[in-house]
Subunit: 290 residues, 2 copies
């Protein structure tokens, strides 16, 4: 099974748990709508790539780790798109969850996806319960209110006291760090050496996102452009210019590759990260900066 199929199947199994006869049908539909069809699934890919580099001795647990990260990510997108935040009407080339299903269902969809992420981890732990505390603590750390994506989103409401770096680390880097660290934990490795790799890839991805926010074709990108300026948010392209931002993106990716800890599959992992990150920016934008 290739990695795309592996991720989609594991996500499908998780979402079906929310679709039992007792579930409120509109909520169950909104949850499916928020998760399928997905974006590039970069975070679960990264999680599985790290698990595989570490031997992937418990694929059931690494599947769960990858799914939990993606569900948490999808949930955060649903909440970030709400009228109180970005008020984004589109996401992944279709109406955002609150546009399509209403604001109530969107709030509950985000809540439900957070809960489901932890549930999926606990369910997988039958295979190796000793790995569960680390997986839960890792997901909560990088999602939560001090260092996680929730903190990152909060900094958008209290923006004056944080640097661009710290903001990006919490807003985007954190869930990439969760991905690499949980891939390692799922395969029985210690998470800490893997955190920097995820953080750097995440920061690079955020710089690419900032560039797209100002220069992308919204149709191709699947969401509206110009949101950072509209919402008064820091943006790497505005701060550094196109050449500066692309240079920063490349430095971050080089730093990421350099940080890969010793593991059986380091060479394969390096290739996988280069292949994935080459898709962070569309060709046209890379050429404009070259």
């Amino acid at each position: 099974m290739d990695v795309t199929q592996r991720i989609e199947q594991a996500l499908e199994a998780a979402i079906q748990r929310a679709e039992v006869p007792e579930s409120p049908p509109k909520l169950a539909a909104a949850i499916r709508y928020a998760v399928f069809p997905g974006g590039a699934r970069i975070r679960p890919r990264l999680c599985l790539a790290v698990a595989q580099a570490c031997g992937d001795d418990r694929p059931q647990i690494s599947d769960a780790a990858a799914v939990a990260i993606e569900l948490m990510h999808c949930g955060s997108l649903v909440h970030d798109d709400l009228p109180a935040f970005d008020n984004a009407q589109t996401r992944r080339g279709k109406p955002s969850v609150h546009s399509a299903c209403g604001e109530c269902e969107a709030i509950l969809t985000g809540d439900g996806l957070i809960v489901l992420a932890f549930e999926v981890l606990a369910r997988s732990a039958v295979a190796a319960p000793e790995r569960l505390p680390g997986l839960i603590l890792n997901l909560s750390r990088f999602s939560g209110v001090s260092h996680g994506i929730i903190a990152g989103q909060a900094w958008e409401c209290e923006p004056s006291i944080i640097s661009l770096d710290a903001y990006h680390r919490a807003k985007t880097g954190s869930l990439f760090a969760a991905a690499t660290a949980s891939g390692a934990i799922a395969a029985g490795y210690a998470p800490e050496p893997w955190v920097v790799l995820g953080e750097r890839i995440g920061e690079a991805y955020q710089v690419a996102d900032d560039i797209q926010d100002m220069l992308a074709d919204p149709e191709a990108w699947g969401k509206p452009c110009g949101q950072d300026a509209l919402n008064g948010r820091p943006n790497a392209l505005r701060e550094l210019g196109l050449d500066g931002a692309v240079c920063r993106l490349k430095l971050l990716l080089e730093g990421a590759i350099d940080s890969i800890p010793a593991c059986p599959g380091a060479a394969e992992l390096r290739k996988a990260i280069l292949a994935q990150s080459s898709r962070f920016l569309p060709e046209g934008l890379v050429r404009r900066a070259a």
Copy 2:
């Protein structure tokens, strides 16, 4: 240490984890505001009462179980009060979180409390990791989108296809069931026999809440009355009349007491439940129905 002090200390320790220097300060303040000062802390009391009835051999884990339930409850109140749902301006006798801290911080406070609930459980598991999967699955089941409080809240947005019983079971009964079941798990007991006890107490509490929604003094109650009619929600008092609703409340409590599974502290638990539930309705309302 008495139980009130035990709960407040354990909650304080959990909330301080959200107040590290890296936390967005407004978000950290909103999270504290949502949790302190508390209401009656009925759910964590119930959780600890069951744990004690089962021997409470790992107080660190039962503390965490009680805290996790209360954080999940506080988070759900913050989201239920949002403009998209009840648009409640007051809660526990002070401005609701979105009124005091803004809608963005309120959404993130609810999200953060859900994450923190799971984190607290994982942190406590050092003492007995084999109890963690059960605790996580129990909390996610009774919070989640099929049988949990999130489902209960969703039924308010899709109300036409559910009975009053099923609505109350999800909206309120579920977190009481989480409380009794997790008290049992925390003390090394199987959760299933304890679910009915929590569900019945929760349903009784919801009937009392419905009565107060129509008849209470809003000052004494700490939140606005008449919300069910305003929001087109089912209400036991409207459906059954005052005598009928009070009768139903008493039957549910008797059924709850009868369902207590065999355990070393069953007699003490019975007393604790009767003492707690006698405060579900203010004296004046009970006299009106007598």
